[in-house]
């Protein structure tokens, strides 16, 4: 080990402090979710899974609906987004760049404003407006740009044109090329996009709060409800359930997106 400078220790201290700022409330909520009584403390009252059980009975429909919407969203963004990324990658010129910019717009506008516009536009369509399909439509609109961008990034970095030309010169038709050459080469982008879409959909609240009805509550809508009206332990237990769903997705995404080899540093940069 090299001799560390003062600068190193100061930066480490700040890094640890910021990590504590982010990590401590997460641990707090996970612990509170399995503590019998948070006011007397975990040591005196002991651990329990009662709160988690209560959350599952109270909010199971909301949790299930969120998973269904996330999977529906995944299917829709795969069917719509991957071809769109391909089209954008292959279409030359300004029009394609313009279309690319336009498709990203729904992410640039706050979810609340988007939802407000959707509610006003589809207010007359009772059946659709009241159903979970309406929430799904909002989620697809919001997550589609992430799928398109993830796939487009991989398409842009691999030399798709040459690969396709090679396949075409061997007599492969368009569908053959798309499924046997294009898609396998974009696997990592599709996977990253898929994880992002599912993660965002499960946690989406800004849009969903205006789009939902009492019969189409999603997991985060239930969370807001639990935080506002139920005891701290139940809110925490519900948050724990959410973490159990979302953290594996986030970890997978981190492992996937992380650059494979970090450059080793030749000297101590302080």
């Amino acid at each position: 080990m090299r001799n560390r400078t003062l600068g190193f220790w100061l930066q480490l201290a700040l890094t640890l402090a910021v990590s504590a700022f982010l990590g401590v409330p997460i641990l707090q909520s996970m612990l509170a979710g399995v503590t019998r009584n948070i006011f007397t403390g975990v040591w005196k009252s002991g651990l329990t899974l009662d709160w988690v059980g209560q959350v599952l009975t109270l909010y199971w429909p909301a949790i299930l609906l969120s998973i269904e919407i996330a999977l529906g969203c995944l299917v829709a963004t795969l069917l719509v987004g991957v071809p769109a990324a391909y089209g954008l990658a292959r279409a030359p010129g300004r029009l394609a760049r313009l279309a690319e910019e336009a498709l990203v717009l729904p992410v640039a506008v706050p979810g609340l404003a988007l939802a407000l516009a959707m509610v006003i536009a589809y207010n007359g369509w009772g059946g659709f407006r009241q159903s979970a399909w309406f929430i799904l439509a909002g989620h697809v609109l919001f997550t589609l740009p992430f799928m398109v961008r993830a796939v487009l990034a991989v398409m842009a970095s691999s030399d798709l044109a040459t690969l396709e030309e090679g396949a075409a010169s061997l007599g492969a038709g368009f569908f053959r090329r798309f499924f046997d050459v294009v898609l396998p080469n974009c696997r990592s982008g599709i996977l990253a996009g898929a994880l992002t879409v599912v993660t965002l959909s499960i946690g989406e609240f800004n849009l969903t709060w205006l789009l939902h009805t009492p019969l189409t509550k999603t997991l985060p809508v239930g969370l807001a409800d639990a935080y506002a009206s139920l005891r701290l332990e139940i809110g925490s237990a519900y948050t724990l359930v959410f973490f159990v769903l979302i953290v594996p997705l986030l970890v997978a995404l981190q492992l996937l997106v992380r650059p494979r080899t970090a450059k080793p540093l030749s000297q101590d940069p302080s």
Partner: protein, 274 residues
């Protein structure tokens, strides 16, 4: 593939996405603009709403909050990001995981984290009471929202700065040092300019998120008058469509402009690195 057939295939592939975009983005937005003009004041309703003193105060406060959050996050996320990118030590991977975990937490969960830290039964209050002082509680105010948005935005800044710092050329710094530059000069004149595109990009995203986020404020209190909360109350309680529509469009324009800046900065960064 510039053949007519190629163009047609590309167009057909984009078509479904374009239809989703038209049906759930363009059409609703047009309806929103029209609905805003159908109030008792007609199109003048927009002018009335945007000149309203309460709305202007809310706009100013939201802007101030977002700028403060952006500056604080760039410091609190930038230094750990740079540090973690350039040092290897035991436990580093764990710190990276903790610092990037909240990246996709919804606003409501961030709000709950703030309540656990600074709420009525929060950690900060308990510690301050143990130390003999008053129970410090600030979750349900603008300060709580500040804490929440910083919490939410640190992971993005850490990730962006780490990615950018790993691409910096160590030889430039070595050259500066060999020419006798002190560490602080090296940082200011070599490292910081190299990180600038990343900082601008992450900062603009942080700013846009803080302007438009709704879930955290919703969880903490309905009395925090940030712009999204005002839009929400105008729509649900006031049924003032002109105000809700006008402020939504204004908010959308601000966040769009900030994110366009982020993208162009990131683009410049890529160009400079390549």
């Amino acid at each position: 593939m510039t053949s007519p057939r190629g163009r047609m295939i590309a167009g057909l592939m984009i078509l479904p996405a374009a239809l989703v975009f038209l049906a759930f983005f363009v059409l609703p937005l047009v309806r929103l603009v029209i609905a805003g003009g159908e109030g008792p004041d007609g199109w003048a309703g927009y002018g009335v709403a945007l000149a309203d003193a309460r709305h202007l105060t809310s706009l100013a406060e939201t802007l101030a909050l977002s700028i403060a959050v952006t500056l604080a996050t760039l410091v609190l996320g930038g230094i750990p990001g740079l540090f973690l990118a350039r040092n290897r030590f035991p436990g580093r991977a764990l710190l990276v995981s903790i610092l990037t975990l909240p990246l996709a937490f919804p606003g409501v969960v961030i709000g709950f984290m703030v309540i656990l830290l600074a709420g009525r039964q929060g950690l900060i209050g308990q510690v301050s009471q143990l130390l003999g002082g008053d129970r410090i509680v600030f979750a349900y105010s603008m300060a709580g929202l500040f804490l929440g948005y910083v919490y939410f935005s640190i992971p993005r800044v850490v990730l962006t700065v780490m990615a950018s710092a790993e691409k910096l050329d160590p030889q430039l710094e070595e050259a500066a040092r060999s020419l006798g530059a002190r560490p602080w000069r090296v940082f200011r004149d070599v490292v910081l300019p190299g990180l600038k595109p990343a900082l601008i990009s992450a900062g603009a995203i942080t700013f846009a998120t803080s302007m438009g986020a709704f879930g955290t404020a919703f969880t903490l209190a309905t009395r925090i008058d940030v712009l999204p909360m005002v839009i929400y109350t105008e729509f649900t309680l006031g049924v003032n469509l002109a105000a809700a529509a006008g402020l939504s469009l204004l908010l959308g324009a601000v966040t769009w402009a900030a994110l366009a800046l982020a993208r162009s900065a990131a683009g410049a960064g890529v160009a400079a690195a390549g």
